[in-house]
Symmetry: C2
Amino acid sequence: MTQGLLIVHTGDGKGKTTAALGLALRAFGAGLRVLILQFIKGGQRPGEIDALDLLAKTSAALSEKKIEIRQCGLGFTNKGEISQHKSAAKIALETARQEIISGDWDLIILDEINYAVKFGLIGEEELIALIEDRPPQLHLVLTGRDATQKLIDIADLVTEMKLIKHPFQKGIVAQRGIEF
Amino acid sequence: MTQGLLIVHTGDGKGKTTAALGLALRAFGAGLRVLILQFIKGGQRPGEIDALDLLAKTSAALSEKKIEIRQCGLGFTNKGEISQHKSAAKIALETARQEIISGDWDLIILDEINYAVKFGLIGEEELIALIEDRPPQLHLVLTGRDATQKLIDIADLVTEMKLIKHPFQKGIVAQRGIEF
């Protein structure tokens, strides 16, 4: 019997979301049922949505494996009222709760949820209560910079992605397929 | 016109390979042609091989996108002669060279190659020469702990994956779909 791990990817470097996506891919390949909920929806459609949709359709056709990615929340476009963001985050968290307790998944990724906690859109205590309510075999991955100390304390596996060098520092602009 | 980035994932934490896989997924979804060469072949077949094979077959059928993963090298199973490992690494590096100069790919990941350099299976100068010979639009990702300072110096984007907490420390064993 597997033991569900609580995994945290934090830090100021690249790779928090991509490492979660890579884990999703690996887990899916190994037969785990994988759900990715993206809490911070950007202005652009990231490449992973198209790739995972293709994988989801193929696997649905073969009815053998299961993977799904959904974008929740309003995104940090610095637009909109904080109350709207809070309300969107509340709905996203409720979706997360329903999926977590459903037993339909072996791995759930709450992408950028640490960010949502940091900005006060989601209460830390609410998130911890949700983590504690999960089925014991469910693996849960939380990503986003500035994970709180309490989350780090209760996690099984924590990696800090640390920025050593970034192309923006050299004036290279973000490129589709790499940055998003 | 895009500018090919040299990306390095290093450090003692988890997420170096999975972040590269996630980047592969994102890039593939955005229409880039992606090749992953795994320099350290483990004893077990990692989940990502099955997932990416499925994606490759689907995309080949749709003839729109291209992704491929190949395992090279003998793996660090602490078995075999060092000369055998060196010879396998040499062949792997030659494969990498042919693929890099072919122009068939937009993103090539040399997974765990830093490790191969660290253990003296591949010469640092050989690898740097290969990097310098790449087409200017090709994105190249090098993963593995203990990337050399020279590699970090010439890279555009460097992330250190830092171990904060690992489940092995709690006595939890490696699980298929998560660790491999």
